[in-house]
Amino acid sequence: MPKITPDKLRPGMKLLRPVTNKGGMVLLGEGTELTAALIEKIRDMGADSIFIQGTSPPSTPKEEALSGLDRRFKSVEEKPYMDVIKKALREHIKDLYG
């Protein structure tokens, strides 16, 4: 899941596992926040996959995830503060799909 190919790296992503060279030497430590320059270096190295923190898009389609959310909130939507919670979840689920 958190494994992506170097062409999908974007600045701001953080490494879930260290990036090592062919000899196993750590070049970038776990947790490193990627910059455009670092991404270029990683691509130059020819690594085939990189582990990054955060989620790659979930396997269920976005529409389905959002309608599932509606279904779950159906009976409690009108209750106090549940609108705030639902809104946070809705935005959050959208975030998951980038």
Binding site: M1, P2, L16, Q53, G54, T55, A65, G68, L69, R72, F73, S75, V76, K79, P80, Y81, M82, V84, I85, K86, K87, A88, L89, E91, H92, D95, L96
Partner: protein, 279 residues
């Protein structure tokens, strides 16, 4: 049921769950250790260390994002010293007991793990001193469900069927079938297992956190965590009904929509690192 004598009888049956032939002998020994009045850090740590599979599970958990020490704990002794007796006791119970649940309520482990993570994240956001205690609260909040299922599997199955058929929560269905709920049942056992009063209180009140006397903040945290994990569609806790948040507890926590989104995002990041915590 529902009368006083009925509840007393139910409580007796639950408290003597250790006598059931269906309880594996490893778990029996573990429950005896947990229950013993003067159990020491050493005894707990020896008990775990003598069982390689248990040791692996415990070390995986303490090094996961469920607790606050990612990758830093290398031995059971160290875990016990860093986290303290009660946290390790709770963890030990959690990893051992939910394993029995894999057939009856698939997803309860994920639900509990999710609550543990979110509870810790909210506790950190609120600046609580011991956020890892919130993890244990979250991990064990629904332990009463496990006990009811172990003791009365057929009845629980019926209660679960009622939830979808009648559009009620498992909490309400339990009240119909048992005259009480997993919240009370869990708190009886937490008391018997000599967990701290705060944990007993959180388990008892996680669906009615405004009634909590000794742990209103912790109860509110677990209450909200439970709602968020369900709302996110993660795990399964016996029904498909979302319960409304307690207005008083929500106000007490005073979290904004942005705070919730921070917590949820940190939760997703934690999940990614938690993939191998499957039992």
């Amino acid at each position: 049921m529902g009368n006083v004598a009925g509840i007393r009888d139910l409580r007796d049956k639950i408290e003597n769950i250790n006598a059931l032939p269906t309880i594996p002998s490893v778990l029996k020994r573990l429950l005896e250790v947990i229950e013993s009045p003067r159990v020491s850090l050493n005894e707990i740590s020896n008990f775990i260390s003598n069982d390689p599979a248990l040791t692996t599970k415990i070390l995986k958990m303490v090094n996961s994002p469920v607790y606050g020490f990612p990758g830093r704990i290398s031995s059971v002794n160290q875990a016990v010293i860093l986290l303290g007796l009660n946290v390790v006791k709770g963890l030990l119970l959690g990893v051992s007991v939910f394993e029995l649940m894999q057939k009856t309520m698939i997803g309860l482990w994920e639900h509990s793990l999710g609550c543990a993570i979110i509870a810790r994240l909210i506790a950190e956001k609120k600046g609580l001193k011991e956020p890892e205690e919130a993890s244990v609260d979250g991990l064990l909040h629904d332990i009463g469900k496990v006990l009811l299922i172990l003791r009365f599997p057929d009845k629980y199955e019926k209660a679960m069927c009622d939830t979808d058929a009648n559009g009620i929560s498992i909490y309400e269905a339990e009240r119909v079938h048992y005259g009480t709920t997993h919240a009370s049942v869990g708190s009886w056992m937490a008391q018997k297992w000599r967990f701290p009063q705060k944990l007993v209180d959180v388990i008892e009140h996680h669906h009615k956190p405004h009634l909590s006397k000794s742990a209103p903040v912790e109860s509110a945290i677990v209450h909200l965590s439970d709602i968020l994990v369900r709302a996110r569609g993660f795990g399964f806790a016996g029904d498909h009904a979302l319960m409304a948040v307690s207005p008083k507890s929500w106000q007490m926590l005073g979290l904004s929509e942005a705070d919730l989104r921070d917590v949820l995002w940190a939760f997703e990041e934690s999940l990614e690192m938690t993939e191998d915590l499957a039992l």
